[in-house]
């Protein structure tokens, strides 16, 4: 029962994160936040099955996913910072040149 509830919650977070990526045309930071939400949904999924099967591999993999998510958040923010330095805007509809 608790497994089903956590899986329901994690799929809801996944779909919400996907919706946020496609619908929020405001700025790049909200897209990065939605990616963090999706990664949180995946971690919830891993931990749920680790709890159900009494297997520790799920928690180990969730830990590594957390490491990689932190690394890509840092690099994504560095890219946002230098893009803002060069172009002066992070409104997503204006970022349409590949040369930027």
């Amino acid at each position: 029962m608790i497994t089903f509830n956590i899986l329901l919650l994690s799929s809801f977070l996944l779909c919400l994160g996907f919706l946020s990526i496609t619908m929020s045309r405001r700025n790049v930071i909200s897209i990065l936040m939605a990616i963090e939400l999706i990664i949180l949904a995946a971690q919830l999924n891993f931990v749920c099955f680790a709890h159900q099967l009494q297997d520790l591999s799920g928690q180990v993999f969730a830990l590594f996913v957390l490491t990689v998510a932190a690394a890509e958040a840092a690099i994504g923010l560095a890219i946002v910072v230098i893009y803002y330095r060069n172009c002066g805007t992070i409104y997503l509809n204006k970022i349409n040149k590949l040369k930027g």
Binding site: L9, S11, F12, L13, L14, A34, Q59, A70, L77, V81
Partner: protein
């Protein structure tokens, strides 16, 4: 108890998406992470819950906040959201969500295979994770350390700027100075001073 955590998590995730201010959405993201850590505690992953709070909330979201405060957000422009993909993305996410719920609801809950290598003893969760992480998953552990190193080097390389009007230390110039170039010993009598023609230039 679990229902409180999941309800607040769902609501704060919705508010992350639909909040106008970027700082507000980051604060709701912090709330979502705290509730997710609570759910992790209920599911028995104590180490992962604390690591989530320390690393994710304490470092990554703080980094997000720094960047949000550093960049000037034009709030007038941000309110006019153009949503060209509203219908199709809602449709796709609703379909995916319902598919997953269908799978979870109608799956067999019978016998499962034996757990992969590790199992949970009467020791604490951190102890068990330490037992597994440094023996079976040692290579992956080292590689994740390398990933963090690469991320650090990449962030510094991307954002470091050398400005020309900053005073910097030039180590080779400093080491090449010898007493011959820079010092000059002058014999001065007391109450006599250097004298006007011998002042330093």
């Amino acid at each position: 108890m679990f229902y409180i955590f999941s309800f607040v998590l769902a609501i704060s995730a919705v508010l992350v998406v639909f909040s106008q201010n970027p700082v507000n959405s980051l604060l709701f993201l912090i709330l979502a992470f705290f509730n997710a850590a609570g759910i992790f505690l209920i599911a028995g992953a104590e180490f992962l819950a604390m690591i989530l709070i320390i690393i994710y909330v304490g470092a990554v979201v703080v980094l997000f906040l720094f960047v949000v405060m550093m960049l000037n957000f034009d709030m007038q422009l941000l309110r006019q959201e153009l949503k060209p993909y509203q219908f199709i993305s809602t449709l796709i996410s609703a379909v995916v969500f319902s598919e997953m719920i269908f799978i979870f609801y109608f799956s067999k809950r019978g016998e499962f295979a034996k757990a992969y290598i590790s199992y949970q003893d009467s020791l604490s969760n951190t102890h068990n994770l330490g037992n597994v992480l440094y023996t079976h998953y040692a290579y992956i552990f080292q590689i994740s350390g390398l990933i963090l190193l690469v991320a650090m080097v990449a962030s510094i390389t991307l954002t470091l700027q050398f400005k020309h009007n900053h005073k910097r230390q030039h180590l080779s110039n400093q080491l090449q100075r010898s007493p011959k170039n820079s010092l000059e010993l002058v014999d001065i009598k007391t109450q006599d001073g250097m004298g006007k023609e011998e002042t330093l230039q």
